[in-house]
Symmetry: C2
Subunit: 346 residues, 2 copies
């Protein structure tokens, strides 16, 4: 299988390098090809997602993505900003389902701002729709009748979009504790009302899953008050953006958390949930675990290699239990030394 | 001055009664008139915001609102659901600025799910725009070209709407520590891009205020990681809905937090941030402090009675320090006994 490596900006290259070493150590028949993305690609080729990079992503069986972004590019026209590479890849590859597990790793209780007994109970996954909502609707700036500047963005979902992400939600819940919470704002939004109606329709096919609904403002409260109440959460693109970052932070170290963005046929893009952290780039201070765990998700979801995925996840846990820590976790290991520690436990 | 009391559903009547007692104990020249709202109004008069209630709210100098909502009304057509009363009042009275202070009260450190050192640092106010955004844009259900059901909602802000809430943000920050954080999603939304542009324009008039910008997903993270970094946050209607509830929960007991919704001329609606809590309604278990503190905001913002507002706030603090606690705070006082405790400290 061909793995596309898109390291990107900031600490992206460092953490992707360690994840590649872990994948190589597994003795699977993997080929790797790299391409620039984000600010690095804008510098090299004039576009955050150059055709050659998109082509590689399309040819590959799976994409391992580092991180993109740097304040330097914030003033560029929107189409050239690094984040457009992420949005462009999601759309071009049809990656409609974002899976974001959040759990507290044993031994890292101190890393969370939540009380240990609250944070320790976190073991949830957020399923975020990634191809629709206000992200991809018509948008622009225009003038009102009396000449005022106005910005607008159309939020929408159609029933097919909701149905396919709902199925991912129900199937994920079925493989876990059987509890699915659908988050929306149906008391205000028609998009949410359709969302809720369709999720309820789909639930007829999953009588073994217990479905609940929660408004997004309440969900943001409950993720602080008692995150242990959640197992699987399914929600739209915008609410998922906010809640999945919030949930990650509740679980403590964002240096530990992976993500997968999937289409319906096993193709996926895998990336750590943290950003490009330009302030520590190139210094060997970044925690590679989130990217290594993203590689494990890649094995599981795109390469059908669950046993190898389990091995990688167990190796990360074992390295942590043995006391291996990068600076974000209060330790002193460099990025590559942490990679070594994980490889040694494989 | 005439105060409209809109007790609403669930625990609304109980908590509003205590706030009224506190206001009466101040010996100001206040007149009170009550009217039903929410589910109670739907039962009595067939509409959650009957014309007679709206008329009272319009005649009054300020509105003290309890809470609305009950699962019984969730299946009603949207226009008849209790929440529509809140949205209708905001729109009809032009209440465009929602002020939500969040701070941890001394002695209540245990109530927060955050570690005491994190929660203890919370002392912020969220200024949420309340008359625009995806809440009030065109919305509906329609069919796509090939016949699929679709829900849509138009998100938008024009420059005047952003400008007037930005001024509230800057002025609030100026009266506090001089730090204003504007929260948006300008990397994806054109509405947010206009928001950010206009906030920057307005900042020229407030050189004494330090303005920063943060994406909403990052703000949701930072409110968990280190809420003490924030002083004043200004944001749109939808993001404000989510973040203000999240921030309240970080500060611990939602039974303690007030809110104000203001128009540009001192008229305002004041309400506790908690809901109607039907499960404990009528049992004297509700904490009236959030409503009492809302009455203090009413004194300050609508009646220009800052000294009286200070007195009420000091009385609530003194009652807490003396150990007065309702069940949500681990105590055993009834709603009215807690009201007594506050009145006694006036
Ligand atoms: C960079 C940005 C466009 C992106 C998003 O909002 O989806 C990011 O926040 C994420 O969650 O992957
Ligand atoms: C009840 C609902 C319409 C309302 C809102 O979303 O604004 C509530 O959540 C609030 O924050 O006051």
């Amino acid at each position: 299988p061909l793995i596309a490596l898109l390291p990107g900006d900031g600490i992206g290259p460092e953490v992707v390098a360690e994840a590649r070493r872990v994948l190589e150590a597994l003795d699977l028949d993997l080929t790797f090809e790299s391409a620039p993305v984000g600010g690095a690609a804008y510098e090299a080729l004039g576009h955050p997602l150059p055709p050659s990079t998109l082509d590689l992503a399309q040819r590959a069986d799976a994409v391992l993505f580092g991180a993109v972004g740097d304040a330097r590019y914030d003033s560029l026209e929107r189409a050239f900003r690094p984040e457009q590479a992420i949005l462009g890849l999601r759309k071009a590859l049809g990656l409609f389902a974002n899976l974001r597990p959040a759990k507290l790793f044993a031994g890292l209780e101190d890393a969370s701002a939540l009380k240990p007994e609250v944070a320790g109970a976190i073991d949830l996954v957020i399923i975020r729709e990634l191809n629709g909502d206000v992200y991809f609707g018509e948008k622009g700036q225009r003038k009102t009748a009396d000449g005022r500047r106005e910005g607008y963005d159309i939020m929408s979902y159609d029933e097919d979009q909701v149905r396919r992400i709902a199925h991912v939600g129900f199937q994920t819940a079925r493989g876990r504790t059987g509890k699915l919470c659908s988050v929306d704002k149906a008391n205000v939004l028609e998009t949410s009302q359709l969302w809720r109606d369709v999720v309820i329709e789909v639930s007829a096919e999953y009588s073994d899953v217990q479905l609940t609904h929660m408004y997004v403002d309440n969900a943001a409260m409950q993720l602080v008050r008692n995150p242990g109440q959640f197992d699987t959460i399914v929600t739209g693109n915008l609410f998922g953006d906010i809640l999945s970052d919030q949930a990650s932070m509740c679980a403590g170290s964002i240096g530990m958390l992976p993500s997968a963005s999937l289409n319906g046929t096993g193709k996926g893009m895998y990336e750590p949930i943290h950003g490009s952290a330009p302030d520590i780039a190139g210094q060997g201070k970044a925690n590679p675990c989130a990217t290594i765990l993203s590689a494990a998700m890649l094995l599981r979801h795109s390469l059908n290699a669950a046993a190898a995925a389990d091995r990688v996840e167990a190796a990360v846990t074992a390295a942590l239990v043995a006391g291996s820590r990068t600076p974000d976790l209060g330790g002193a290991l460099s990025t590559s030394a942490m990679g070594d520690a994980v490889v040694a436990k494989l």
